[in-house]
């Protein structure tokens, strides 16, 4: 489903002016606080009106200022998971979830509440009131409530921002399952690179009310100029991979990627499953000669595509082309100089660690970028 946004809205001194188009399963709005992410989501949800412009979801116009069209939020069928959950305190969990379902037109109901409850693991909470739930439970119920209304688009505004790391780890797998199984597109707002890198199929980068970049996640994440110093830790390349075989003796799995085979600690998925491998730039070493007898299992041939050095920083980010796939490596500027790394230099990328998301069966995605 296509999400098409081209809007302007002015609030005081802040102007949001955003235009992009996305067809991904999970489009992340990424940017620092105050960049206009939430405003944009509220415009899509109908909680705010744009001064000018239009928004389309799946070919249906929700707002078109020039044509004088504005669909009120209660007719948009756009689910919204708020940062603060916003469960109704006077209703039980079961009633909160029934609330959205009640208002959905019968012929538009696709959500199976029983399945939702199972998938979110909230069956044991149904009789409780929101006041008695933990933060993580509240967010899961909020997700269930939004989906029970059978929306055609789900907005999630920093649903993990108010949770601690343990709770985040509790929710993230559910968001991944939603992306892969719910079958409706998700807009996910976050200012955390790690979350975005793990979840997004497409990314819209916002800065000071403008779209700084947008496109498929792998491309946008690899754009060197976007990495702010505090986020470099998370700079990573994404590789779509297929599980080829398991090595029972050593507890390993072998993956096939465009960049070459990867051997990783056993991945709990059936043979042939699609997974997404995330390789952080700081987990990649570079060598000019093929390294022999080293501990790393994965050594991939590649060519340097570009190098970027931040002003005044000791390190540099090297973008590699490995069989058409992109890999990022963080090395020191001195390394770049002594090894003579320049576009076209053949190198060996030594991958020290790979992490995974459950895949969302990446298929061709026309029209993005």
């Amino acid at each position: 489903m296509t999400l098409l946004v081209d809007v302007r809205r002015r609030t005081g001194a802040f102007t949001l002016e955003a235009a992009f188009r996305s067809e991904g399963a999970l489009t992340a709005f990424f940017g620092p606080s105050g960049s206009g992410k939430t405003t944009l989501v509220n415009l899509i949800g109908g909680l705010l009106r744009p001064d000018d412009g239009r928004i389309e979801v799946g070919g249906e116009t929700l707002v078109d200022v020039a044509a004088g069209r504005f669909t009120p939020p209660w007719r948009r069928r756009v689910g919204y998971v708020f940062q603060d959950a916003r469960l109704f305190p006077h209703l039980t969990v079961a009633q909160n979830i029934a609330y959205g379902r009640f208002f959905a037109a019968r012929r538009e109901r696709w959500a199976d509440v029983g399945r939702l409850v199972d998938m979110l693991g909230i069956g044991a909470l149904m009789d409780r009131r929101p006041g008695r739930l933990s933060g993580g439970e509240r967010q899961r119920v909020a997700i269930g409530r939004a989906l029970a209304a059978s929306p055609r688009l789900l907005l999630m505004d920093e649903p993990l921002a108010s949770l601690d790391e343990a709770r985040k780890a509790e929710i993230l797998p559910y968001v991944e399952r939603l992306r892969d199984e719910a079958g409706i597109p998700i807009v996910y707002v976050s200012h955390a690179v790690a979350e975005v890198a793990r979840l997004a199929t497409d990314i819209v980068v916002l800065a000071a009310g403008r779209v700084a970049a947008s496109g498929p996640a792998a491309e946008v994440l690899a754009r060197l100029d976007l990495a702010a110093p505090e986020e470099r830790e998370h700079t990573a390349a994404l590789l779509d991979a297929e599980l080829e075989s398991h090595d029972e003796e050593f507890g390993l799995s072998r993956l096939v990627t465009a960049a070459g085979p990867l051997v990783v600690p056993r991945v709990e998925a059936p043979i042939g499953a699609r997974v997404r491998a995330r390789i952080r730039a700081r987990d990649v070493m570079l060598a000019l000669d093929r390294p022999e007898r080293i501990s790393a299992l994965n050594v991939l041939p590649a060519t340097v595509a570009a190098t970027a050095e931040a002003e005044g920083a000791a390190d540099a980010l090297v973008r590699l082309d490995a069989g058409g796939a992109m890999i990022l490596a963080r090395v020191t500027r001195r390394t770049v100089a002594t090894l003579g790394l320049a576009p076209g230099t053949p190198v060996w990328a030594i991958v020290k660690a790979v992490s995974f998301d459950r895949a969302n069966a990446p298929g061709p995605r026309p029209g993005t970028g």
Partner: protein
């Protein structure tokens, strides 16, 4: 303890007072909720004027309010004449007029209590309801109203208590007719005007205190139940 027994006339005053207060409370409630909601959630020209009008009975001398009611809702007053001609409703010198006077006098208290309660509701909950498909009227009925319940109960108790004690506007508008418009306060006042009426006045005073306390306890119990229901306690 024989002096505690109420005379038939006193019983009449007590019953009338209860009837007047309950009607004043029940009838003014929907209007009070509506005005409170408008004042809490809407911006419109003339909002300050509406707010001032609602609060007028609180700051005007009750006799003035009673007099204004008399010239508007009396049988020759513009509204009074219209209501009598078209609906057969008469306020002047009837218990209904006493209920009207009490309702008007208590209205600012009702609106204040409900308005504070509505303002305490996070409007983002109402926005959330809208994204779930609820149109504004449904949002009001299913989210705003239930969450306003504590304020509504407080406002009803205040209205009831005020109505039980209203004196100035009532006596000015509908006079002090035993069996028709003589409520507890006007009955007490009448007792104090006649020699040897102190015992009757004392009895009715005790009744007043008992009713007030009962209303207060009832509201407290109800509020506690609501809080427990929402797990806020």
């Amino acid at each position: 303890m024989d002096w505690l027994r109420l005379s038939p006339e006193e019983w009449t005053a007590v019953r009338l007072s209860l009837r007047v207060s309950i009607w004043a409370t029940v009838v003014s409630l929907p209007f009070g909720i509506l005005v409170a909601h408008v004042l809490a959630r809407r911006e419109f020209p003339g909002k300050a004027v509406l707010n001032g009008l609602v609060h007028l009975p609180l700051i005007l001398p009750p006799v003035v309010t009673g007099y204004l009611l008399l010239i508007t809702f009396g049988r020759r007053g513009p509204v009074g004449a219209f209501l009598e001609a078209h609906f057969g409703i008469v306020f002047a010198f009837r218990w209904t007029g006493a209920a009207l006077a009490c309702g008007i006098m208590a209205f600012p208290l009702l609106v204040r209590a409900v308005r504070l309660s509505i303002e305490a509701i996070d409007p983002r909950l109402e926005a959330a309801a809208a994204t779930l498909g609820a149109r504004p009227a449904w949002v009001f009925l299913t989210v705003t109203l239930p969450l306003t319940l504590p304020g509504i109960v407080a406002g009803m108790i205040l209205t009831f208590a005020k109505a039980m004690g209203e004196f100035g506007a009532t006596i000015t508008f509908v006079s002090n007719i035993p069996g028709e418009t003589q409520t507890l306060p006007t009955a007490i006042y009448t007792f104090l005007q006649i020699p040897g009426g102190e015992t009757g006045a004392a009895r009715l005073t005790l009744v007043s205190i008992a009713i007030a306390m009962a209303a207060l306890v009832a509201s407290e119990l109800f509020a506690r139940r609501i809080r427990r229901g929402m797990d806020l306690a």
